[in-house]
Amino acid sequence: MEHIRLPKVENVKLLDRISHRRRRVGTLYLTATHTIFVESEAGVRNETWVLHSLVCSVDKLAATPSGCPLLIHCKNFQVLHFIISKEQECHDIHLSLQRLSQPESYDELYCFSYKPNVDEKERRQEWDFLDLKADYSRMGLPSSLWKLSPVNQHYKVSDTYPADLFVPESATPPVIVGSSKFRSRGRFPALSYYCKDNHAAICRSSQPLSGFSARCLEDEQMLEAILRSNPCSDFMYVVDTRPKLNAIANRAAGKGYENEDNYSNIKFQFVGIENIHVMRNSQQKMLEVCELRSPSMSDFLEGLESSGWLKHIKAVLDAGIFIAKAVAEEGVSVLIHCSDGWDRTSQVCSVACVLLDPYYRTLRGFMVLIEKDWVSFGHKFSHRCKHVVGDPKEVSPIIDQLLECVWQLMEQFPCAFEFNERFLITIHNHFYSCQFGNFIGNNQRERIELRVHERTHSLWSYLWANRTDYTNPLYRPNHSQTQGLLRASTSPYSFKFWKGLYNRFDHGMHPRQSVEDYLRAIQEETQQLEEQLSSHTQAIGVTEIAENLMLAIIKQCFGACYVAAE
């Protein structure tokens, strides 16, 4: 509370982003967690709440005769343009918000003060909702080929990896430890996905410390062990998700990529996804295009092209498709890495999983996927999403790109996903909101130190409890387009601009009627009617005679109506 210089300002104007003629007048409040704008006109109490943790930047613009503009950009792409009549008040709000939106320590984060009406027992249960081990056993692990290794207990081998990891049965602790010493941040090759039908596996790691000529016997043995864990294949792919030039540059720093001559039976491949800095700048440029007041079609398309954003999305999807095909069609195992193996590697693993396995296209499956490839494998959420004050160069929309890849796939395959766009957007919001503990910190070890599971709530059980809002009424698990590997197109024309996310708050841009809401309503009604019908059936007893009787009863009850329908 000590950061709030001014808790309340009256007579504040909130401008509409599209048309500045439309403006609302009201009172602005600052609380410990939110900025609240309450519209005071027309008798309707219209409130806009913005979490401080969602605020990305606060800018005070030059004063105008009508007042002093304050521009708030949020991490969920909301943009609020206030006009505060007195410059001093604007100044106070500006300073307060700047401090409130940039917590200096984890303890200040919203999740530690967020206390919904849930008792402690239920809160603890929330954290049991997802179980990664259950996902591995769904894949058929452990098996005679893959085992759960205790080597990283207490995070001794790699402090950014999870404690529980699957490795090839033949990989001994000395081999793993040796390999980890030859990999950035100790992130040795470990299993991410296993296809029990053909034994092909997706493994992930960081880059090898190969420099210009260094070798590591244990690392070579580790890859050999992965290859041997797939009895049906005599080679494996090693996919470096970076552009070749970046990988070569890393060699000068004693890092780099695998030399095909030193590893037996590997096929090495670059896929050319750009680094976090390029992605950050690209999204920034794209958002500038989104914010143009009334752009012409050419302004928009030229801006979109020069931002390069869709090109990067396509690169991630292309890489995912390459890996999914290697696993599903060739039955070949793949090792994926980038530099540290927590950004591009996570993206590509997840995209490949979504393409490969229908389970990850369900509500629960997608939550498991994020928990597995991102939370557990140590994507640096707090750095990338700037949860606390830190190096701005660490911020990057890597996780946004995953969601967008999935969204692009949903647009191509409308019947293949159990969840809807709202689900992705809600998850996106909470990557940044810090309302739930799931994405606090940068890895499992940090979350344990912060006692996240003891002190906060979990997003996943919240989403599950509200799953009717997030269900795609067109999901058809048995439809031909839903089966097995999704054969996605990455022709440039297959990619669309995701206005649902990037222009989420510009309501005027979105379709005015929702097919999905309509379908959901008739789906519910259809279910109710079916239940009514079947309860009639049950009451009478499910014999042929009874069914005939029931038909007779229905005919009697609904008379002409029923006949007409026939």
């Binding site: 079609m297 398309l301 092209e305 990455t490 005027g508 379709p511 097919v515 009617l529």
Partner: protein, 529 residues
């Protein structure tokens, strides 16, 4: 017309046909006066392809050794390929296709020969007529009348015999006003807004010329339109500069001094050759196989097609704003008044009037605005995006309309009574059809060729129960409100269903539409039981 002279080889065996989304098949090829027929050799599950030669926009032939390959690019954007054994046969077939696909003689076209067994030639051709339309609009009787001044097409060759005009204006005045408008297209009523009694009028440009001629009768006619109101608006679909330049060639615009109660807006809309080139570029971009995102976005931008969509919708939005929000009557024209004027008045009616959003309503609207009020289909749709022929009068104005309607449907998926499938069907039929609806350039030409007696009408066929079922929108819920489209670039999309119609991806979207239809049917069954 003897077709046989163009057919040297009528049948070829052992031809391989390659078409999108299907495996190649081997069979017999047959050329007739109007069709290309291919039948599969497989006895079980035999497939036939029947293609109107008129649908073929361009062909390319490639000879290698004793056989040849003919690539046919169709006006519905399909690309088919035939591998034909025997060089001479191949050349003969190619020659037949080249000649028969672009015969100029209208009366030799297929609609005059199309006689399906389940359809007899209609008593009434078309859905309605200006007379019927007027008689059904009782609101008009007080201030508007039906004039038959054009009964022999002498006042305006491109207008139908009957038009709706202000009651206070007699036929002599109309005749004089017509002389002051290009092609005689004097201002006539095309839409009456029941909520406030305001109207949309449509015409061609006034013939001011360099020495600023005026015409009392034209001024009177327009004055009568806004009688009882303080002003009216004119939407000129050309830029101010273009309109001024038009004076050099005898045209012009309504000047403030003679039409002092009319306020003019200029909205430049692309037409003619530029629009055709835009379509060609877009189709070319969609066929680009370089798989390069930057290249695609820059080609998409460079084609300007989406800019034209944006422009058409926002100009129609302006028209609706004048009539619905501002409560004033509007006159729309460009130069000839046969292209962009029709485009925006049609869109405006769809946006404002729920009656135009049902399937009958929409087809009726197209009939009034495009068939009766004369869009020169024959000239505009002679060729599509693939043709190498030198461009003459081709311009995809009607296709642009369908694209805009598709954008409306995307933004208001429950408000239109028809589905995307209907728009696709119309987009195909307008270039090559079994029906006579899109033949000729005007009502006069249609009468001369007895189109109404000797061909079937597409719109009537589309309203038969089975077709109507197929083309209806299962989600349709009538709304009385205007459906204002958003014209932000983010809100407009490439019409994949048309431009990428023959790709796998569009199949997935069609399957989803099918699922939607099934859900609604299922629900309907239960709700009724």
């Amino acid at each position: 017309m003897e077709f046989a002279e163009h057919i040297k080889t009528a049948n070829v065996e052992d031809v391989v046909l390659r078409q999108p989304l299907q495996p190649p098949s081997r069979g017999t090829l047959c050329i007739t006066g109007h069709h290309l027929l291919f039948s599969d050799r497989e006895e079980s599950d035999s497939r036939q392809v029947l293609l109107l030669l008129r649908n073929i926009d361009a062909i390319e032939k490639r000879m290698s050794g004793s056989s040849g390959t003919i690539t046919m690019k169709c006006k519905d954007l399909r690309v088919l390929q035939l591998d034909i054994p025997g060089m001479e046969q191949c050349l003969n077939i190619a020659h037949s296709i080249e000649t028969l696909s672009c015969l100029d003689c209208v009366s030799a076209m297929y609609p005059f020969f199309y006689r399906p067994v389940d359809l007899s030639l209609p008593e009434q051709w078309g859905l309605s007529s200006p007379e019927m339309h007027y008689s059904q609009m009782k609101e008009l009787y007080e201030k508007w009348r039906l004039s038959t001044v054009n009964r022999d097409y002498s006042v305006c060759p491109s207008y139908p015999p009957a038009v709706i005009v202000p009651k206070s204006i007699d036929d002599d005045t109309l005749k004089k006003a017509a002389k002051f408008r290009q092609g005689g297209r004097f201002p006539v009523l095309c839409y009456y807004h029941k909520k406030n009694g305001m109207v949309i009028m449509r015409s061609s440009q006034p013939l001011l010329g360099a020495n600023r001629k005026r015409c009392k009768e034209d001024e009177l006619l327009l004055q009568a339109v806004i009688e009882g109101s303080d002003k009216g608006y004119i939407i000129d679909t050309r830029s101010m500069q273009q309109a001024q330049q038009a004076r050099m060639t005898g045209g012009g615009f309504e000047s403030k001094s003679f039409y002092d109660r009319w306020k003019r807006f200029h909205r430049q809309m692309e037409r003619g050759k530029a629009l055709q080139e835009s379509l060609i570029k877009l189709v070319e971009a969609c066929g680009d196989e370089s798989n390069n995102m930057d290249r695609w976005l820059s080609k998409l931008e460079n084609s300007k097609w989406l800019s034209h969509v944006q422009n058409a919708l926002s100009t129609a939005g302006l028209l609706v704003e004048c009539v619905e929000r501002d409560g004033h009557s509007v006159l729309v024209h460009g130069s000839e008044g046969t292209d962009c004027s029709l485009l925006i008045s049609t869109l405006a009616q769809l946006i404002m009037d729920p009656c135009c959003r049902t399937m009958e309503g929409f087809l009726g609207l197209l009939e009034r605005e495009w068939i009766q009020a004369r869009h020169p289909f024959q000239q505009r749709c002679a060729h599509s995006a693939y043709s190498h022929a030198r461009l003459q009068q081709e311009s995809p104005v009607f296709l642009l309309l369908l694209d805009c309607v598709w954008q409306l449907w995307r933004q208001f998926p429950l408000a239109l009574g028809f589905s995307e499938a209907l728009l696709l069907r119309l987009a195909t039929e307008v270039y090559a059809s079994d029906y006579g609806t899109f033949l000729c350039n005007s009502d006069q030409e249609r009468c001369a060729l007895e189109v109404k007696e000797r061909t079937h009408c597409l719109f009537r066929a589309l309203l038969r129960p089975t077709e109507r079922d197929y083309y209806s929108n299962p989600l349709y819920e009538r709304t009385e409100l205007a459906i204002w489209p958003s014209v932000h670039p983010q809100s407009l999309q490439l019409w994949k269903g048309y431009f990428l119609r023959w790709t796998q991806q569009v199949r997935h979207l069609e399957e989803a539409q099918e699922e939607i239809r099934n859900m609604v049917i299922e629900w309907g069954k239960l709700a009724r039981s």
